[in-house]
């Protein structure tokens, strides 16, 4: 990927635009963190006015590269040219001066402050020592929002805005700073399909107005839909620079992963057995005391995967927490029935059980927050593979003294079976990559031989290879007759794995549809709309929402 013309440093001598058509050129960028090489002689060339995709798996070094461009990270070596001129960016202030703007994956907004305050922060009318001019700030924001067709109320506090609107504020923030080069780091991860289309329209309009857009993603469809050219990174190195029109998904995926990837999950039709999980009119409050679940009802059968789709923050997290015993329900009932084949066993009411008791009756749980509630990061892989089962006679004498030899054997077995890539089971889990950390959790939960498996965002932040693996294992568990509740913000994941899809909106299940439902239809349901003539499911009694 090296350039032909290794231009000498005195590039600034020829500021001729035709000679340097690149708005951004990064050459031989290197950056190493302790133990990881994030960028290894990476090159990136972005033409003025184009929408350029920067793709790669997690940990490929995309965000690091962009953080370098925005001045948040200092490269160990390498050169940056903006509009053909060599520049040194040692902080976001330099980047802003060079008209570079960045919309971060985790929004850089201050929740208790208003939209206007967030937008003008750092460049307030009047300068740092002046009195904050609320009217002027408001006016500036409204002008900006009219000019770019991005309507927003300047006086709302950020914490009151939907994620889509917060992203709009981020874009306005960059435009307020007169950004010509706009970096967006995985901007669609938190959006509904409709919001995504809207964002694409906005970005296309900006690019027509001459703005340069760098779009970080790992979703290949977005690359094909939106961008003009693509730079692919793998493990901190360039592996390809393509013109989008001439590329296809499989090709980009192969470059990203370094081998052929199965983009679709192969599975046979489900053969559902008796009902294992029954949720009836469930209510629960969120941490802030709001009613997060407002009468949720559904069932999951043995041998099927029920997917819960929805924009994040519509009660999915609370639902999973109640089911796994981490949150108290305020009303309603949850039961788990044991089943083997078509035979029905004992039924347990788990509504008010705690997490330990829930696990004891055969519920396994892959939590959405891998680092927070799934693993003890500083503990060894061995310890993490027995979390929650440390009192089993197999692992402890008198439920009290650990049988470390047994634990080590167990951990080694799981690591082998679930293909966790690690030199030793004695390493702290922290040392593993995100994908391997997730495999440790999956291994631990599957090995409990559960009746019901709750998988919340099971592939979040995991690379394509591990996603493929985890998806295959989930389908295997289904075929082995387990009931699986899958909660995911990735619509593609929900659609490819689920046998039925329940859509959640504002604490209710608005509908349960088949996986053949179109993306538009699902998107509409996710935002509270109800498509006409949608393919309803026959089991009408499971379409919850008794509360309304």
């Amino acid at each position: 990927m090296h350039e032909q013309d290794k231009a000498p440093l005195a590039q600034a001598a020829s500021p001729d635009l035709a000679a340097s058509p690149y708005a951004v050129e990064m050459r031989d960028i290197c950056k190493a963190w302790p133990g990881v090489v994030a960028n290894d002689h990476v090159n990136l060339r972005v033409r003025r006015g184009e929408i350029h995709a920067l793709v790669g798996e997690n940990g490929a070094g995309k965000t690091t590269l962009m953080n370098i461009l925005y001045g948040l990270v200092r490269p160990d070596s390498g050169e940056i040219y903006i509009n053909g001129e060599r520049v040194h960016i040692s902080g976001p202030r330099d980047a802003i001066r060079l008209h570079i703007g960045m919309v971060h994956q985790h929004f850089m907004l201050i929740p208790p402050l208003t939209v206007a305050e967030n937008i003008v922060l750092g460049q307030e009318p009047g300068g740092p020592l002046a009195v904050y001019d609320r009217r002027r700030a408001r006016e500036l924001v409204l002008q900006l929002s009219a000019r770019y067709g991005l309507p927003i109320d300047p006086d709302t506090r950020i914490e009151k805005l939907s994620v889509g609107l917060q992203q709009r504020v981020e874009i306005l923030k960059a435009l307020y700073r007169a950004a010509d080069i706009l970096i967006l780091d995985e901007p669609t991860g938190v959006l509904t399909p409709q919001e995504t289309y809207e964002l694409f329209d906005v970005l296309r309009a900006l690019s027509r107005q001459g703005k340069t857009v760098i779009f970080i993603t790992h979703k290949l469809r977005e690359v094909l839909d939106l961008t003009d050219r693509v730079t692919v990174l793998r493990r901190g190195r360039n592996v390809g620079e393509l013109v989008t029109r001439e590329a296809n998904q499989a090709e980009i995926a192969r470059l990203m992963v370094g081998r052929e990837v199965l983009l679709r999950v192969e599975k046979r039709p489900a053969r559902p057995g008796p009902v294992v999980l029954r949720v009836e009119n469930l209510h629960a409050s969120s941490d802030r005391g709001l009613e997060a679940l407002q009468g949720v009802s559904f069932e999951v059968h043995a041998g099927e995967i029920l997917g819960i789709a929805g924009v994040e923050g519509n009660g999915q997290s609370e639902l999973v927490e109640v089911l796994s015993g981490m949150r108290r329900a305020t009303a309603g009932r949850v039961t788990v029935t044991h089943a083997s084949g078509q035979q029905i066993g004992k039924t347990y009411d788990i509504t008010s059980m705690n997490a330990r008791e829930v696990r004891l009756v055969g519920v396994a749980h892959i939590p959405e927050d891998r680092r927070g509630s799934g693993l003890v990061l500083s503990d060894t892989i061995e310890s993490n593979t027995i979390l929650g089962r440390e009192r089993w006679p197999r692992f402890a004498w008198a439920r009290f003294i650990l049988r470390l030899g047994e634990v080590a054997l167990w951990a080694r077995r799981l690591v082998r079976e679930f293909d966790v890539r690690t030199p030793s089971t004695r390493l702290p889990v922290r040392a593993l990559s995100g994908g391997n950390q997730q495999k440790v959790i999956v291994a631990r939960e599957f090995a409990a031989d559960p009746q019901l498996l709750i998988a919340a965002q099971p592939t979040r932040g995991v690379d394509i290879g591990a996603i493929e693996f985890i998806h295959r294992r989930l389908v295997e568990q289904r075929d082995a007759g387990k009931a699986i509740l899958l909660v995911s913000a990735e619509l593609d994941e929900i659609r490819s794995l689920s046998d039925r899809i329940a859509v959640m909106y504002e604490g209710r299940i608005v509908d349960i549809v088949t996986p053949e439902a179109s993306e538009e239809e699902l998107g509409l349901l996710m935002t509270g709309g109800r498509p006409s003539g949608a393919s309803r499911e026959e089991e009408a009694q499971t379409t919850g929402d008794l509360g309304a």
């Binding site: 997690n58 690091t64 948040l72 201050i110």
Partner: protein, 316 residues
């Protein structure tokens, strides 16, 4: 026996004058706490900074024969000690609580040691009245019944404190700089990416908290006591800390809290005639502090990034 004395005490100008004075003494370090925590640096070392202010103020006043020079020296000393806290917690990203404790302990030990070495254990003599911070003369206003004594016979620093209080409230909530300070305390990454220098703001705010604590020390030693005694701050810096939380991290709120604590302190002094054990009375302000913290305030929410060192662009 109790009630008649209590009534007499509570209606006397003496009590309220003392309450306001004690409140102002607490408010200066509390304002320092507010500005530091608003920028996201936990500062529990106001006690130590105040104590250094007391000592340096007295020593420099005696050496220079000028209370003004002593006052400035006290303020600078507090600021320098705060700079140490700034370097440790902003630059070196060390634990801010530990740094604060270290500064408090060091200030106590250092002032004791220097005091003994310097005076051979005799202690510093009381300052002559021309070497003290004066009570401001308001002329006829001071003659008003009750109000005259309460409001117009206060030390000059008292009035300075009120000006600072109003100024700080305005600065934090009505100016662009205040917006930046609050942004840095809530979400330093957001402020940084918006082009605000997190380091500069945090250093400035921490140092400001030291300057204010140093001023409080000068007030106590040069205005109220007229001398230096070992550990003469007696936990005021810590009560100020409680006032910061009680006042929901706003200057006006902290002022309200300091008024209550000041009244408690004054009461504990004046009620000694009632026959209640003086040691027991001395606990009154501190008990008030605890009650205030658990009962009256409900939940106070600290700035989101309070106490968290800023790490720009950490690894993916």
């Amino acid at each position: 026996m109790f009630w008649p004395i209590f009534l007499r005490v509570i209606t006397s100008g003496d009590l309220w004058q003392a309450s306001l004075q004690f409140a102002a003494l607490l408010l200066l370090p509390a304002l320092g706490g507010v500005i530091s925590e608003r920028s996201g640096v936990v500062n529990i070392a106001m006690e130590g900074m105040m104590l250094i202010g007391c000592y340096v103020g007295v020593v420099v006043t005696l050496a220079s024969h000028s209370v003004l020079v002593g006052l400035l020296a006290a303020i600078v000393a507090g600021g320098l000690l705060a700079l140490v806290h700034g370097v440790v917690s902003i630059h070196l990203k060390a634990d801010q609580i530990i740094s604060g404790i270290a500064i408090n302990v060091a200030a106590l030990g250092l002032t004791n040691y220097l005091n003994i070495v310097q005076t051979g254990g005799q202690g510093i003599p009381t300052l002559a009245s021309n070497l003290r911070l004066p009570v401001l003369n308001w002329g006829p206003l001071a003659q008003l019944p009750f109000l005259g004594q309460v409001l117009f016979q206060q030390n000059v620093v008292f009035y300075v404190t009120i000006v600072i209080l109003v100024g700080l409230q305005f600065l934090l909530f009505r100016t662009n700089l205040g917006l930046r300070i609050r942004a840095v305390g809530e979400h330093p990454q957001a402020a940084d990416t918006a082009g605000v220098s997190v380091r500069l703001i945090r250093y400035a705010c921490v140092v400001a908290s030291g300057l204010l604590s140093g001023l409080a020390g000068a007030f106590l030693a040069l205005g109220v006591a007229g001398t230096f005694n070992s550990n003469m701050t007696a936990g005021r810096g810590f009560i100020a800390l409680a006032a910061v939380v009680f006042g929901k991290y706003t200057p006006l709120g902290a002022a309200g809290a300091c008024l209550i604590f000041g009244l408690g302190l004054a009461l504990s002094v004046r009620l000694q005639d009632t026959g209640i054990d003086s040691n027991l009375l001395a606990t009154l302000p501190y008990i008030l502090t605890i009650i205030a913290l658990i009962g009256l305030v409900g939940r106070t929410v600290a700035p989101a990034a309070d106490g968290v060192p800023y790490e720009p662009g950490s690894a993916e």
